[in-house]
Amino acid sequence: MPLSHVAFLILSAVALISGGLVVTRRNPVRAALWLIVALFSVAGIYLLVKAEFLFAVQIILYVGGIMVLFLFVLMLVNVNVSVRQAPFNRQWRVALATALLLLAELAYGFWRGAAPRLKALAPVAAPSHPLGNTQAVGMALYQNYLLPVELVSLLLLVAMVGAVIMAKRRFD
C-alpha cells in the first residue's frame, strides 16, 4: 500500500473519530476543541489530493478564524448551563432517519459511479496544473472571475456593518 493511502486512512480515521466526539461532548468548549482536530485532519486530506490552497485556507480560516468565533460565541452563553442539559433534543429519531437516508443515497451514488473506476485502480488526484495549485487559483480568480471577486468585498463590507450594528444596539 502506497504511503499516501496510509496517510489518507489515518487522516480520515482521525477526522471521523474527532467528528463523532464533537457531537457527543456535553461541554461545548471541549466539542469546539475536538472540532479543531477534525478540521486539521480534513486539511491534511486536502494536501493529499494536491489542493494546497484549500489546505492553507482550511487552517487559516477555519482553524484560525472560525474557531475563534465559535469559542467567543460559546463564552457569550453560559457553558455551565449547557453542560447540565441533555446533549440531544427529542428529534434525534427524525434526524437519525434523515441521516441514514442520506447515507444510503451517497452509498448508492458511490456504488454506481466511483466504485467501478476505483476497481480499475486509477490513482485519484486533482488534475495537475503546470503552475501549481495556488497559482492556478490566482489566475482563475483574478482573470476569469473578476466580478465575483469584487462582489466578495461587498459581501464582506455588509458582514462588517451587520456585525457591528447587531452587537452595538445592545449597549449603545
Partner: protein, 119 residues
C-alpha cells in the same frame, strides 16, 4: 509528495511530542505532594480569581471575533493574487486595489463608529 511535505511532517511530529515530553519530564523533577488550600486555585497573576472562568462574557468579544474573521477572509484573497502578481500585471493590481478600496470604506466606517474602541 513526501519530499515536499516531509519537513512539515517532522515539524508537526516535534510540535506534538514536545509538550508531552515536557510534562512527562516535569513529573520527575517536581516534588511529590498533593496541593491543598490556595494552591488548588487557578493562578491569575497573583490576584485571587473572582468567579468561574466558564461564566458569560461581554458581547464586545463577539464583535472582535467577527471582525477578525472578516479581515481573515480578506487576507485569504490576497494570497493567490500575490503569488501571481507578475503574471496578472497592472490589471491585477487595479483589481486588487478596488477590492481593498471597498473594504477600506468599511474599515473607515468601523473606525468612525468606534468599533475598535473598547469603552
Amino acid at each position: 509528495m513526501l519530499q515536499t511535505y516531509g519537513p512539515l511532517l517532522i515539524f508537526a511530529a516535534i510540535a506534538a511530542i514536545f509538550p508531552l515530553a515536557t510534562l512527562w519530564a516535569a513529573k520527575f523533577l517536581r516534588p511529590r505532594f498533593t496541593p491543598t488550600g490556595d494552591k488548588t486555585i487557578p493562578y491569575e497573576c497573583g490576584i485571587a480569581p473572582e468567579s468561574d472562568a466558564r461564566g458569560r462574557y461581554t458581547v464586545r468579544y463577539y464583535v472582535v471575533a467577527l471582525l477578525f474573521v472578516i479581515f481573515d477572509v480578506e487576507t485569504i484573497f490576497l494570497f493567490p493574487w500575490a503569488v501571481q502578481f507578475r503574471a496578472l500585471g497592472l490589471f491585477g493590481l487595479v483589481e486588487m486595489l478596488v477590492f481593498l478600496g471597498i473594504l477600506a470604506i468599511g474599515y473607515v466606517w468601523l473606525w468612525k463608529r468606534g468599533a475598535f474602541e473598547w469603552v
